[in-house]
Amino acid sequence: MKRKLIAAIGVAGMMVSIAACGSDSDKAKDGDKGTAGGNKTLTVWVMDGSAPQEWIDGINKEFEASHPGVKVKVETQQWTDIQTKVTTALSENTPPDVLEIGNTQTTGYAASGGLADLTGDKDKFGYANWSEGIKPSAELEGKLYAAPWWAANRAVIYDKAAFKKAGVTPPKTRAEWIEGLKKLKAADPKSQPIYLPGQSWYVFAGFLWDEGGDLATKDGDKWKGGLGTAEAASAINFYKELQSFSSAPKDKDEATPQQSTDIVPKGGVASWIGLGWEAGGAIDAIKKAGKTADFGYFPIPGKTADKPGSVFFGGSNLAIAERSQNKDLAKEWLALATSKKGMQSYGTAVKGGIVPNDPSAQVQPEAGSFAEAMVKSASSGRITPITEGWANVETEPNPIKGYMTKVLKGEDPKKAGEEADKVIAERLNQ
């Protein structure tokens, strides 16, 4: 009898355990749509760090004033694992109406049919005024699936005091850059001339573009990776040289630990490569610690002085979910937010730290600001290959990151590159 009991409990225990094996999807919470009495709620997903509070509040106030009975609900999302979350959200009956989607990921969602076709509303969004560099990421096969919102690129952030002590001025070429780092090392052997973790793959992509290579290229009707090439080998070798000045981990990216708030404020970092919001985050964190940051900024140097280094043009588009139940309202909100006026007030809110969809809406950045350095290299801005499968490459485990770590630890660039290319091709062509 008792053995039977134990057996039964064993069965129960096993069933409970096995239940946990079934993959439990964390359903994205969809905004509760107030539909009663003509009151509508427009849900907008923005990414962490994208929309300054005062700007989005202003847009919503204006929108709600001209649309009585409509409330705009803004939900801030984190970048980590965002793709799964967006996929789940787009498959639901009540998805967020407007979503911010990274410019490297928009094509993938457009191809999956999750985003509303906005081709018919081009005029409403001021399509004609958008800059040529920013358009491609929002389009697929001649159709428009999103309104470009902003783009930004990385620049080098440096500690003015450390540079002054070592007698280093902002470099214009790669050779000068390395020379300066050597001087910094000599002046203060204890601190890092540059903080550069091994998996900062957007930085690497810039070096690769400088060499004339690309992360992936189309070969007939198939895509193939571009890391097993001679161009990639020279790019990663320069990255390796740069990284040798840093004691940052070779198997981490810049977000783990967060370089802007976890590393730089602790001191001992003379320079680092980051985005505008990262520089801002570091300044705040240093202020909180009771010190004052004195940062200078310069564009990532190119191979020659006449052209700054290529940079990844990171940015976001605003799209409308195909299953949105308030498509017309969503379009109007989108038109308002990405209008020239909306972009100008956005530019002001971020102190000119972004490249807007319409070049004439560019807010002049302050002298000596991050934005000033950033805008200088905007002309060499590039984006990742435009294809449906690209988003798959970026999801962790990202083969480009794995490739970088392997080479930095001494593996042959060609061999590691070819291995990564296999994964890239697999993900792009699936």
Binding site: A7, G13, I18, S112, G113, P249, K250, N392, P397
Partner: protein
């Protein structure tokens, strides 16, 4: 990080085996000798008619809704080619055994399987060994120290998993970790910026420390509870015969507590084999996918790479493997039933 939500989702089932086995102790584990002395009083008062069925209905219903239904859906999903695009379009194309054949022909899958089996074997052996020793220590300690040790065990058991993984991550952090500092302080060189998560192996070693640490309380406390059912006269008799401690354990304690050892071992096998949060949150299955165990593999293929059908197939294969392992256990139990 989504790890948090994942953590809470899997935290509940994780301690379930603990609770289930805790229950198994409420009627003290049978010790052959005593059983036959006692009159079988249970049978007389058993309720008859519909009542017993009514009593088990809620449990069966909740199992059907919460376990059986999702399981069936999961089986169906494993025969469908559902990826990101199909998910958004709500298409469920039937692909037959394609997911399975793809997996079984994939060397990566097999290396994950082997890795999972090795991790499980090592962990269960360590947990059972250390847990049993701690349980016996509990039995021998005086009142005060026993309370202190039990409390320490309870705290380790009660620690939320994601929180404990976070603590471990910081302990072994490359730049600010205590582990590196300790190694330096006691005079080892090369721990200036030692990366404890450099390889899949080293990552899994740290995961093992965490898993063993997290599971010892369950085994130790159960062991202690079970030991209290072993009559002191047996120890005395053994002592009289001049048996060593080692001999006493194998001749008195072990035979008496055999059912306890069996159920605990099998519950631990399940618990370790399906451990997800600890492995995933530690290093996301990295570096370069080399610390992925089966549940993490399923998650990364499913939620990360958005191959939902393939991930379902992985989880089904995981269940099959567990069932095979468990079948040995049930055969043993049934055999013992027959013998009696």
């Amino acid at each position: 990080m989504t790890v948090d939500s994942q953590g809470t989702a899997s935290a509940a089932p994780q301690d379930a085996p603990g609770r289930a086995a805790g229950k198994s102790q409420t009627p003290p584990p049978p010790s052959g000798a005593k059983e036959s002395l006692r009159p079988p009083r249970g049978r007389r008062s058993l309720p008859s008619g519909l009542l017993p069925y009514l009593l088990v209905t809620p449990a069966l219903l909740s199992m059907a809704v919460l376990l059986l239904y999702p399981l069936i859906r999961n089986v169906i999903l494993s025969f469908q080619g559902v990826n990101k695009r199909e998910m958004i379009r709500r298409e469920t194309p039937w692909v037959g055994f394609e997911n399975y054949t793809k997996l079984l022909g994939d060397p990566d899958f097999w290396s994950v399987v082997v890795r999972s089996l090795v991790v499980t074997a090592v962990n269960v052996a360590l947990v059972m060994l250390i847990g049993t020793l701690v349980g016996m220590l509990l039995n021998r300690l005086g009142k005060k120290m026993r309370l202190v040790l039990s409390l320490a065990l309870m705290f380790a058991w009660a620690m939320p998993i994601v929180a404990s993984v976070t603590v471990f991550r910081w302990l072994f952090d490359e730049q600010f970790g205590v582990a590196n500092w300790v190694m330096r302080s006691i005079g080892f060189s090369g721990y200036e910026q030692h990366n404890w998560f450099e390889t899949g192996f080293s990552t899994l070693v740290i995961v093992t420390i965490l898993l063993v640490w997290g599971s010892i309380p369950f085994v130790a406390l159960n062991m202690y509870a079970a030991l209290t059912t072993v009559g002191t006269e047996l120890y005395e008799a053994a002592k009289m015969d001049g048996a060593s401690g080692w001999r006493t354990f194998w001749s008195v304690v072990f035979p008496n507590l055999k059912p306890f050892f069996m159920i605990t071992t099998f519950l631990e096998i399940i618990w370790i084999f399906k451990a997800f949060t600890q492995v995933y949150a530690m290093n996301q299955g990295g570096p370069d996918r080399s610390s992925e165990t089966l549940p993490v593999f399923a998650y990364i293929e499913g939620m990360g790479q958005q191959h939902y059908g393939l991930a379902a197939a992985i989880s089904i294969l995981t269940i099959v493997m567990l069932l095979v392992a468990m079948s040995f256990y049930f055969r043993l139990i049934l055999k013992q039933e027959d013998e009696q």
